[in-house]
């Protein structure tokens, strides 16, 4: 019995020795490969340094003007710029959205939670927004813009009962309240995000009041 144990131990020892020799040879091989790679890298770096010196050094004339490689095209420039923008946006999204196995989660900043009733209402701003909504024609303008941007003549067709100057002044009020924005080049009027919310709110309040009055 003891004999068998000694034999087993001896066999294990032999096996370990064999593995150790094998590992050593692998390590030597790896170190040889790495040193070869390092050598190549050093050569490449030296080469690049030489090229850099040539570009920066003697060849540039001291006259006005810049020497460039015209192989670069505006296409590359736009691509690069867009890539940069995309990276920026990707970064923003990463900060705000987490996509995990359980779905998408919106990350919020670790700021102290403020209860809704603690937020101070800006009365002048609230009055401005409510005042902008407080006219039938302006509500109708918002209603028209809910289906997409429109030129003033398109709005004029829909609201034929009011003059162009009145329509313009209504649009100005809506613009000042931030409910509508006008494109500067094409001139179309667009309903903004707050404009949509305000319009929906006006509709909801109206429905609620009507229902209550009927009861």
């Amino acid at each position: 019995m003891v004999m068998f144990i000694y034999v087993d131990l001896y066999l294990i020892f032999i096996e370990l020795k064999r593995i150790s020799v094998k590992l050593r040879s692998v390590r030597i091989k790896l170190s040889e490969d790495l040193s070869e790679e390092m050598k190549k890298l050093k050569e490449e770096i030296a080469n690049l340094k030489e090229q850099f010196r040539n570009v920066m050094g003697g060849e540039r004339e001291r006259r006005r003007g810049i020497y460039i490689d015209v192989g670069d095209r505006v296409h590359d420039y736009v691509e690069d710029m867009m890539e940069g923008v995309a990276e920026g946006i990707h970064g923003e999204l990463e900060k705000s959205i987490f996509i995990g196995p359980r779905g998408v989660r919106i990350l919020r900043r670790k700021e102290p939670h403020i209860r809704r009733d603690e937020v101070e209402l800006s009365f002048p701003k609230a009055a401005e927004v409510m005042s902008a909504l407080g006219h039938e024609h302006r509500l109708r303008i918002l209603d028209e813009l809910m289906s997409g941007g429109k030129y003033i003549n398109e709005l004029q067709e829909k609201l034929s009962e009011i003059t162009t100057s009145t329509l313009s002044s209504h649009l100005k009020v809506l613009e000042e309240a931030g409910l509508v924005v006008q494109e500067k080049v094409r001139g179309r009027y667009l309903i903004t995000m707050p404009g949509r919310t305000a319009y929906k709110m006006a509709r909801r309040v109206t429905r609620f009041v009507e229902r209550r009055n009927q009861e």
Binding site: V70, I89, R186, L190
Partner: protein, 198 residues
């Protein structure tokens, strides 16, 4: 290696000129705007301008939740740089005289050239653009100086439009639009939008 340099001959516009125009934006300069050419191997590839003009860009994204962003409206009273098609513009130039330099606040032609060269160098040497320039491609690049004397860049390459200013980036590429402002990021692709509030 091709040589890119700023010319020595200063001209002025004989009438108002629209330098760039598309659905979303426009760059116009008025009569008597000073211009010095940017040359690539002695061929005009753009100009540095100084006069009066305006730049408009509808950097607005139309999402299902409503329009986001506002138009950019800039008076062009400072020097700015343009790279792009010069053929049509060349026809609207006339020789600039001493009184034209005086009107823009320069003592003489050298005063204007020095400022133009400074902008040229800032754009090509210190900017993020590296040494890139229009070659055979059709397209426009504008560099406007902003309040902090940094450069706002507008690039129009066919269907792609990029505007990068101090506090915003607007990219439009076919049916994809991206707006990055200090308060939000909006990405619109084929009618679908993602809005990230900062």
């Amino acid at each position: 290696m091709a040589k890119l340099s700023i010319g020595n001959t200063v001209s002025k516009t004989s009438e108002a000129v629209t330098l760039w125009q598309m659905e979303k934006g426009i760059v116009e300069i008025s009569k008597n705007t000073l211009a010095v050419p940017i040359e690539l191997d002695d061929k005009e590839r753009g100009y540095v301008f100084h006069g009066n003009g305006k730049f408009l860009l509808d950097s607005i994204v139309e999402t299902e939740e409503g329009a986001i962003g506002k138009p950019v409206e800039k008076e062009l009273n400072e020097l700015f740089l343009m790279l792009g098609d010069t053929e049509e513009i060349q026809k609207r130039f006339t020789e600039a005289g001493e009184e034209d330099f005086a009107k823009m606040g320069y003592e003489n032609q050298h005063g204007f050239l020095a400022k133009a060269e400074d902008l040229f160098n800032r754009f090509f040497e210190k900017g993020m653009h590296g040494h890139r320039i229009l070659n055979e491609d059709h397209g426009f690049i504008f560099a406007f100086q902003n309040e902090t004397s940094k450069l706002d860049i507008l690039v129009d390459k066919g269907l792609k439009l990029v505007y990068k200013a101090m506090d915003m980036v607007f990219v439009s590429n076919k049916n994809k639009v991206v707006l990055k402002s200090p308060s939000e990021v909006v990405c619109l692709s084929n009618g679908k939008s993602v809005i990230v509030k900062k």
